[in-house]
């Protein structure tokens, strides 16, 4: 009942369930309001359709006894708004405002029209000679808290990982830090979610979530690419 999105899209991060919960909560609240409102609306149209021998009543709606019919529903809307607000802000705080300490950090660089990723090598530190650089494929360990540092080389992009329910715009001139912790292994989509020019649609990436031994094996299979070749990611890909 509170995992509606999961029917369509797996939930693979620690906070994706919370975001699904907010969605489902709003879904049920506004869904019931919607059905009730449309129901009353249709009933009134039928009940007060033009009929012979029935005259319209003179109701100004200015009397308190009449106004209460719209006043109470809107007070109820306010109450539900507050419920939704509390749920939404709590999740927002966890995902975006709060930054739990990182176990690993990766750098995500967006450009027209590719993602490049810098993984810390076996030493676990970024900006050391053993960094592993890849294009369009991000490798992470399951159940590990990652910080990502988003950078853009040209225009706005948006780093979106639907199974994590994660999205963050990438802004040239800034480094934006966020976090995620994967809970499921597998290979999932990354998609640029902000129009960034002709190649916007051709800017997908993959995120590979692996267990720690698999991840170590993957690291061993990679030789650190020199920084210079990162300048032309398309070339390294082909």
């Amino acid at each position: 009942m509170f995992h509606l999105i999961e029917r369509f899209l797996p939930s693979a991060s620690t906070y994706s369930g919370d975001i699904d919960f907010v969605f489902s909560l709003v879904f049920w609240i506004v869904g019931l309001w919607f059905i009730a409102t449309e129901g009353v609306f249709l009933w009134l149209i039928l009940r007060f359709r033009k009929q012979t021998g029935m005259k319209a009543q003179y109701i100004t709606g200015e009397l308190e006894s009449e106004k209460k019919w719209v006043h109470w529903p809107h007070m109820a809307v306010l109450v539900f708004d507050v419920i939704i607000l509390i749920a939404a802000v709590r999740v927002w705080y966890d995902v975006k405002q709060n930054l739990p300490p990182a176990q690993e950090t990766v750098r995500v660089v967006a450009q027209q029209w590719a993602w490049s990723f810098v993984h810390p090598g076996p030493d676990g530190q970024l900006d050391t000679p053993d960094d592993i650089k890849t294009v369009d494929e991000l490798h992470v360990k399951v159940d590990t808290l990652y910080h990502f540092k988003l950078e853009s080389r040209d225009v706005l992009h948006s780093f979106s990982v639907p199974v994590f329910r994660l999205k963050q715009d990438v802004i040239p001139g800034r480094v934006i830090t966020g976090w995620f912790q994967a809970t499921k292994t597998g290979s999932f989509d990354i998609q640029c979610a902000e129009i960034c020019g002709i190649g916007h649609a051709l800017m997908p990436g993959r995120i590979v979530v692996a267990t720690a031994p698999e991840h170590t094996a993957w690291m061993a299979s990679q030789s650190p690419i020199s920084v210079a070749s990162l300048g032309s990611p398309r070339a390294t890909q082909e």
Partner: protein
Amino acid sequence: MAHPVEHHAADHGAHHHEEPGWVRKYLFSTDHKIIAMQYMFTGMALALVGGFFAYVFRMQMAFPGMEVPFYGLVTPNHYNVLITNHGAIMIFWVAMPVLIAAFGNFLIPLMIGCDDMVFPKLNRLSYQIFLLSVVVLIASFFVTGGAFAGAWTMYPPLSTKAEYGLAPLGATLFVVAVALEFVAFLMGGINFVTTAMNSRAPGMRMYDIPIVVWMIVVASILFMASVGPLIAGAIMMLFDQNLGTAFFNPDKGGDPILWQHLFWFFGHPEVYVVLLPAVGIVAEIITVMSRKKMFAYRTVLYTTFGTGVLSFMVWAHHQFIAGIDPRMANIFTITTLLISIPIAEMMFVFIATLYGGSITLNTPMLWALSFIATFLIGGVTGIFLGASGADIYFHDTYFVLAHFHYTFFPIAIIGTFAGLTFWFP
């Protein structure tokens, strides 16, 4: 209620001048009804253009890579051009001229009982500048580099740097067209507010003004108060594009997010700028066709003002994940959810108006009722997006697109047809 064939100005003009020729009567007229029809027909014509664009890119999505009938192959660049201009045309060149300018021009003087707008020549100039903006927009399709393809929101640096957007001239003309269009509606807005406040028939008090006129006036005030930052932003963008300044260019210390603030500070009140006239039209039709007085007229009026004030405090909900300070999102979530209250109240009032009525289900009434039924979907889906926690996922998805179209389709299409079938012969 209103007859477009009436000639208020005829009585003082007829004695001294002969009947003006076709060109002067229909193209360079200062008569508010003719100007209303000019806006209406231009807007409707552009609705066909914008609708055709939507047809082309939806066909491309239905049958990817195949030739679209009456268009041909849709390249990635064409696709971006089509969605960009579909959005811009439908909002700036269809919804605004038809709902605000056409209905405002037509209804305000007739409903408050005066001869014409207070500034008829400004009114004519407003339409002429609007027409110029249409010409500039259409010209942008035929320049070297092609039309602008950076989405109707024009986020820099894609829109400001030629090497990213690949359409330097197209982008410049697009921004010029948008800025001109705003200038045109600024003039229209001055007229609407001044006329409704100063030229009412003797004895018509503030609380006697028909609700649709009130809503157009509030919409005009919202527009005039919000458009300044955007025109300034558009000029900064033109400077960035052509003179090498760096307002939005991070290489030289500018900030691309600044544009987003300027754009959405206008962009969100803009939603209510087109919503309120449509709601006003629907209110008039529902009261007439159910043979009832408007339920709680004053409450509706106050909620209209409330919506107007609140609409200035919600803009950053378009930017929750765009790189603003995450703490700011909490404030904007509160204001965004709060705005559901006046809008819900309006809907409840319309539904309450039906109670005890004698409802005639003719064409305008069916349009008006379908407005409410459909707009409710747009309203409730907005709650998902306003809730910041859910918006982390829903931002930039088809959910937003669907929400937006469920609000704008009732406003711009259903509202317009309701008004057209109700007032025009």
